[in-house]
């Protein structure tokens, strides 16, 4: 087997040194009754060529194997990935390296992630960003725990009902064993989180609102900050589409204490939902409360600049049971990917790409309206919006996937049961005018 270099001679001479007569004897320290008697019911090994055939067949069972037009977002976005990105991050010095615990031979990863942290603080308008988390949902759950722990008087957290449904579930999974609870903030007929509903909520430790929200609508985060300040609790902003901040005012500018986000849009493939990139940023004041890895700048013994993992005393390998989080790894290579993407698009590129996302989405919405769909919210949105479709659309939608390889929106009623025939549409810079015109023609009533 090509990954196992040992020859018969190697094994023989090594066994001699190890003091055993055969490989099986190496396991004599394991009592016989603990060893498995059955063989492994795992198929015989495949050659590289058989593996290719097998995987090609599996991949072909996914419709994504064809070039399809993706008009769905909902937390996973279809963006262009420039060629230099997979090229650079597949360099094995980045890919096959471990966590940079030996900084002298990890300056590539360390400087790369330091630059990532910096660019994320710029993007989000915050003081500090961590070296990343698994995804937005888990980063948001960690932010919720920070708020709950800081406020000894309350054990509830107010979360917008327009926060991604999966994220609300993840927060619940994380906080309920400790006896904490979510209170959902309802939404208004404008498709925005109802800040008025917060007035009645007394014992909350924090407020979490997603913007742009799950419907794609842009929230007025300043009104939530005002409420949080008055109640002396933390205000957490979240997002699923990182490119929005190429155009929109970022969460930091509204005074968010913590920001949790999804960075998959920054050069990372959709890959059936994972791995993505969890982003977490905070104010200077909350620096020592932030979970996850942090990279800092320092000097070496010769006075040269260098980078190290720092503030490790927050983390599990030192605090153990007193750690605020159990997180060990980050999504390192994906954070590097996002850094390369942000460096590639730069200040000019991100603005133009975000603008084009907005332009396409507006054109899509107008085109769908002309084709007989009903606009549901008259609220500003970014690259995603909700439309009410004619009843016949569901059938058409399935046919469009099978026949034309077009994914025309996502049904909302599985997440919001009251919204029958409502669909969430998305258009990114990858969607052309021609794609939109074709879709409008196909769904025309």
């Amino acid at each position: 087997m090509r990954y196992l270099p040992h020859t018969k001679e190697d094994i023989e001479s090594m066994l001699k040194v190890a003091g055993q007569s055969c490989l099986d004897d190496l396991f004599n320290c394991i009592p016989d009754d603990l060893k498995t008697k059955d063989s492994l019911d795992i198929p015989e090994s495949l050659s590289e060529w058989e593996l290719n055939a097998h995987m090609e067949e599996l991949a072909s069972l996914n419709i994504a194997c064809k070039d399809y037009k993706c008009f769905i977002g909902a937390g996973s976005y279809d963006h262009y990935i420039p060629a230099i990105i997979p090229y650079l991050i597949s360099r094995s010095e980045f890919m096959t390296a471990y966590t940079p615990y030996q900084p002298e031979v990890s300056q590539g990863t360390l400087q790369g992630i330091y630059e990532f942290q910096t660019m994320i603080t710029e993007l989000l308008g915050m003081d500090i960003a961590t070296a990343s988390h698994y995804d937005c949902g888990t980063a948001l759950a960690e932010a919720a725990l920070i708020a709950l722990r800081k406020n000894k008087n309350a054990n509830k957290i107010a979360v917008s009902s327009l926060t991604h449904p999966s994220h609300r579930q993840i927060i619940d999974t994380y906080i309920s064993p400790a006896g904490y609870e979510i209170v959902e903030i309802p939404y208004t007929k404008e498709g925005l989180t109802d800040v008025g509903a917060l007035g009645a909520m007394d014992d909350i430790a924090g407020i979490a609102v997603q913007s742009p929200n799950f419907f794609g609508n842009i929230e007025d985060l300043s009104s939530f900050k005002t409420v949080a300040e008055a109640k002396k609790i933390l205000f957490i902003a979240s997002f699923t589409e990182a490119l929005a901040f190429g155009l929109l005012k970022n969460s930091g500018s509204f005074g968010a204490d913590l920001v949790a986000g999804e960075g998959q849009s920054l050069g990372i493939a959709k890959s059936f939902g994972g791995p993505g990139l969890g982003l977490l940023a905070g104010t200077q004041k909350l620096m020592r409360s932030l979970p996850g890895r942090l990279i800092g700048k320092t000097k070496d013994a010769n006075g040269d600049d260098g980078f190290v993992l720092t503030l490790a005393t927050r983390e599990q390998h030192i605090r153990r049971e007193k750690a605020s989080s159990n997180i060990c790894s980050n999504n390192g290579l994906n954070a590097m990917t996002a850094a390369v993407y942000l460096a590639t698009v730069g200040k000019i590129g991100i603005r133009e790409i975000a603008q084009q996302n907005h332009d396409k989405a507006v054109y899509l919405k107008t085109s769908l309206e002309k084709a007989g769909f009903e606009s549901v919210f008259e609220t500003p949105f970014f690259n995603e919006f909700v439309m009410k479709a004619p009843v016949s659309f569901e059938q058409k939608r399935t046919a469009l996937i099978n026949d034309k390889c077009i994914f025309a929106g996502m049904r909302l009623d599985k997440f919001y049961p009251g919204l029958k025939n409502h669909y969430l549409f998305c258009a990114t810079e990858k969607i052309s005018k021609g794609d939109i015109d074709q879709l409008a023609k196909e769904v025309q009533e």
């Binding site: 190890a18 498995t36 997979p86 094995s92 890919m95 096959t96 994972g274 390192g332 590129g349």
Partner: protein
Amino acid sequence: MNKQPGTSGLIFNEPLLWDKSREGRCAVSLPKPDVERADLEKDLIGDAPELPQLSELDVVRHYTRLSQWNFGVDSGMYPLGSCTMKYNPKTNEVQAARQGFAGAHPFAGEEFSQGALKLMYNLEQYLAKLTGFDAVTLQPAAGAHGELAGMLMIHAYHAKMGKQRSKIIIPDTAHGTNPASASLCGYDSINIKSGDNGILEPLAVAAVMDEETAGIMVTNPNTLGLFESNIKEIADIVHSKGGLVYGDGANMNAIMGIVKPGEIGVDVLHFNLHKTFSTPHGGGGPGSGPVAVGKTLEPFLPVPRIVKELDSYKLVTDFSDTMGRLHTFYGHFGVMIRAYAYILSMGGKGLTDASKLAVLNANYVKESLKGTLNLPYDYPCMHECVFNDEFQKEYHITTMDMAKRLLDYGFHPPTVYFPLVVDSAFMVEPTETESKEDIDQFISAVKAIAKEAQENPEKLKKAPHKTKVTRLDEVAAARKPCLRG
């Protein structure tokens, strides 16, 4: 091969991105706008983020140079104990990049995602069969995340039994994520000491196990590289008082095809796909931490679960006792593809051979170095062995000094200062993909360093000498954190 791998050569300085930035540069090919510019309310628009402005070559040169400052498995031997830094097969990258996988939208619908669902279902089956369990979740995004899932399932189980418990038993050899994960569930950690032979003793467990204790977290083999041979008796003690046994599967690389934790009393086990199953470490992630369970905990698995109906695969969330959801979608699918490809490439016999050779390599290192470095637990080891700096104390040389000097020789140092039960630990896990020649070079490097400790300790104290930077001031980094540029 007489020369040690580490040598000096020309590498490049490279400034920070914003120091290279020049107004007006852009490295991306912008698509041509083909629809009208749409307005947005002025007060919603922010300033463009102050990202660097670079040409494409600026970006390529930047990251190429940065990569040259890094050491990866492809560069040289990386014997980090507990991390299983085995070779990352390149065909796995080809598989993960297939358009049908990389381009798959998680909400495309089950009907249009059968390839992904089938792959995940098959992977679940293989992991379950490998370890003697009944069901698997692939949702946790990392080992620590899997530990949390395990703890949450145990928590849900006791809630369902009508009495929530407050404690978890944690051995002194445990990885820090164990007590941290238990804490996240609201459990108090009851720490117990391993015996003089480095493994857990049933009496020590029996002394603390009671009906307030939810269970025990055991790593087997443990972080000293020793097989916990009392595991069955310990499991019986815990079970007899209604508790459950959590297995930390980080060290699975030692026992594939040899021991199935599900057969010897473990109720729930997590895997690290980025350790045992060859997926790349990526400089710190992404990993993947699937969890396998027996029938007792199956009802509590996270949702959605993959269910096979005749020839098709469905995502089902309707499990009333589920512990909930841990990831926005289905876990780190991209990592699963690589692990799946690895399992298929190795086959059942290949995985067993991998474990046997991993254990052979570690015992070879142990026997070869035990005169040179102090071996606190002189027993047959599994896939890793733990030394310390006791012999070097008289020269005032520490584990840290020796680790830093190893860098000059062209090796990534082993894990240092873990596990905590050994003072100044030096934990070596060669893995099965290292050849005898590379291991022999490593052994002679360590011996040379031990000699230098005696004859030229200053060389070690000031090590490393050949790397781009030398020892960094971690105190300053922590006192005055500078976390952004």
